[in-house]
Amino acid sequence: MKYIDYMQLNPFQRFWYSFSNALKAFPGKLKNFFVAIGAFIVKFFKGIGKAVAGYVSRFVKGDWAVKISYIVMGFGNMVKGQFIKGLLFLGIEIAYIAYIVFFGWGYIQKFPTLGTVEQGMQINPATGGYELMAGDNSMLILLYGVLTIVLTAIFLAIYFASTKSAYAVAQQVAAGEKPVTFKSELQDLFDKKFHITMLAFPTLTISAFTILPLIFMILIAFTNYNKAHLAPGKLFTWVGFDTFSEIFAMTEGASKGATFIELTKWTLIWAVFATVLNYLFGMILALMINKKGIKFKALWRTLFVITVAVPQFVTLLLMNQMLQEDGAINVLLMSLGIIDKGILFLNSTPLIARVTVIVVNCWIGIPYTILITSGILMNIPADLYESATIDGAGPVRSFFSITLPYMLFVTTPYLITNFIGNVNNFNVIYLLTGGGPSTENFYQAGYTDLLVTWLFKLTMNSLDYNLAAAVGILVFIVCATLSLVTFNLTKSAKNEEEFS
């Protein structure tokens, strides 16, 4: 379609046109995405190969001090005068070895089986009491095994760097240069290598408290850690992909497979409605508040935004009370004479409950949209609207042909994060309906349960830890693919340098 044709379409046709184009392009984008991932993996392994090759060639080419540095880290640096740096390397090596000897090795050697000795009890004849015969704790073996592996990976990286550094300093000395002083390297950390200084602390904490626990969780999905294998009393072990086949097993009745599929459908429907409605209505409200000639703007905005200040779980628990059969909302409706018997908002038909949670979520989410969009809306060039008015466009038309496209263009990242946030929106469902209305067709779940609340119930109520972990992984795969594809292929990522 030529530009001139496009301009003649009405906003709805335009929207449909772009939308169908995006749909048509999606498979291609998805393919590109996976190709990119593949390329990344190839590059990663190539990089490792190159590192190993360099590691070997440096050993061959290096002098005796470099060769010793391959066993005693930092030796080469110390010999050539970089004492502090050499000592640091040596210190790291000693610390790592001490960790492995005194702690890590015990766990890492049991890691392949996750423990073999089951805890037992025996009677002490002297007292008649039972005594614990401690066994292996599979959970701790898994956790500390992962910790050891992560630490080993970090250590290896430092080890490579140390051999590289020993070789480099040897080259410098051989070329007759003075080795770089520790002070100038420190200075570098605040200028050319500033990113290392800036990212070191956050990376450390994120690795310890986000990545490591995540690896632990992912691995649990490949074990049989469930109600029949509870640590520390019982052992659990690796089972490969059994948990995943259990999820997709379509047995009769309330199978996990059927539950998973139904909950995935509802999770996506919920996320779309929750995101789109919040976005649209929030924007319309923001437009109204910021409309020319409307007074008390601060008051109106405060009225909505004040709800953000009350902790979410409080408002949700309160809403739960208000939506009961004899709760405040029914009392109000009855006293107004609109209904004569209380409506079971949260616990009758799936439809009523689902609509209710979406509406309540609007109540919670719209103030955030107002906050976020207010500023941008004011940034839309006023002459756009003026020319539209001159062309005879009413407010609805200018909303669809100017405001919405502009906002969509500008706020894509926000929309994606919001969508993911809604897929994982635990609080609203858990505190409002607890997943109800219940049904005999789902395994440990109700009609409004999202995958994430199902996951919570599986851990807390039925103790299916492995199942929960597997569900977590599936949720993650869906979210990550969706957002990486959109994020990297929308304009926002490409135009990053636009303002530079």
Binding site: F190, L212, V308, V310, L317, M322, P413
Partner: protein, 284 residues
């Protein structure tokens, strides 16, 4: 013509006022309900009518005097301390990460940005037990320090909005400073940070609110150490089976008390919040 235009505008404005008023009432009424019932004197957990019949400060007073089992004032202080510390650390972490991603150029930048983005998408429940045992290995379980660590450790992952903000600051500024001999470190502290008030305020606000609302992870970390509970766990405890009958009104009063400082902060800083999020959240 002009008259009819004016009339039309007047009508539209009237309509807008009407819609805003109706919706405003809908939005605020649950909060009004919350506040009114926190002063309710009669009845137990809930009543079957809308407005309380008698009002008193009893629920608030009891919250501060009857502290033998549920020590609200202590929890309030705990939360305040945790929130202050974790908001300082989180803000620093967020600014450091987003500045690096926005202004500095290094090889691992792009992959790290992507990794950072997807890390936030795992549902976190299963990881809590791992976090607990890591904290235990450090001897920190059941302490407020553990909470500070938990709330600020992952903060760096929330870099997106402030990265967007930094992206809008012209790079020419950095370049000029570099020519004048400034290091990256100096540019960050002396040039970029002073210009980033809105985004700093936004980050401070969001990370300050976190500890007031989390009731799951905090409970797992604190276990039976009631003295170190935060208000969120405390309030959640008040609506459990054993407590709800006698404590529901106090739960409402406590919620109001939690909401007051946060809303004050919010209203006070709203302008910055809007500016920060507008510039950062949305860059296209």
């Amino acid at each position: 013509m002009i008259k009819s235009y004016k009339l039309r505008r007047g009508l539209t404005n009237a309509l807008v006022y009407l819609v805003l008023a109706v919706l405003g009432i809908i939005w605020v009424s649950p909060l009004v309900y919350l506040v009114l019932h926190s002063f309710r004197d009669e009845g137990l957990a809930t009543v079957s009518y809308l407005l309380p019949k008698t009002y008193s400060f009893k629920n608030y007073i009891e919250l501060f005097t009857d502290t033998a089992t549920l020590n609200f004032p202590r929890w309030f202080m705990n939360t305040f301390v945790v929130a202050c510390f974790s908001c300082v650390i989180s803000t620093l972490a967020v600014l450091m990460v987003s500045y690096s991603f926005s202004r500095l150029r290094f090889k691992a930048r792009k992959p790290l940005i992507n990794v950072g983005m997807i890390l936030g998408m795992f549902p976190g429940f299963m990881t809590m037990i791992a976090i607990y045992y890591l904290l235990k290995a450090m001897g920190l379980t059941q302490t407020l320090l553990a909470l500070v660590i938990c709330y600020s450790a992952g903060a760096g992952l929330g870099y997106q909005i402030s990265k967007g903000f930094f992206d809008t600051i012209p790079r020419a500024l950095d370049e000029a400073a570099t020519i004048d001999g400034a290091t990256s470190n100096q540019i960050f502290w002396k040039i970029i940070l002073p210009m980033s008030k809105p985004i700093v305020v936004y980050t401070v606000l969001t990370s300050f609110i976190g500890p007031w609302t989390d009731f799951i992870l905090a409970k797992i970390i604190m276990g039976d150490m009631r003295d170190n509970y935060t208000v969120a766990i405390g309030l959640y405890t008040m609506v459990q089976k054993e407590f709800v009958v006698n404590y529901f009104k106090r739960f409402l009063a406590g919620s109001v008390l939690v909401a007051v400082p946060i809303s004050a902060l919010f209203l006070f800083m709203q302008r910055y919040y809007v500016e920060g999020v507008t510039a950062g959240g949305v860059k296209g």
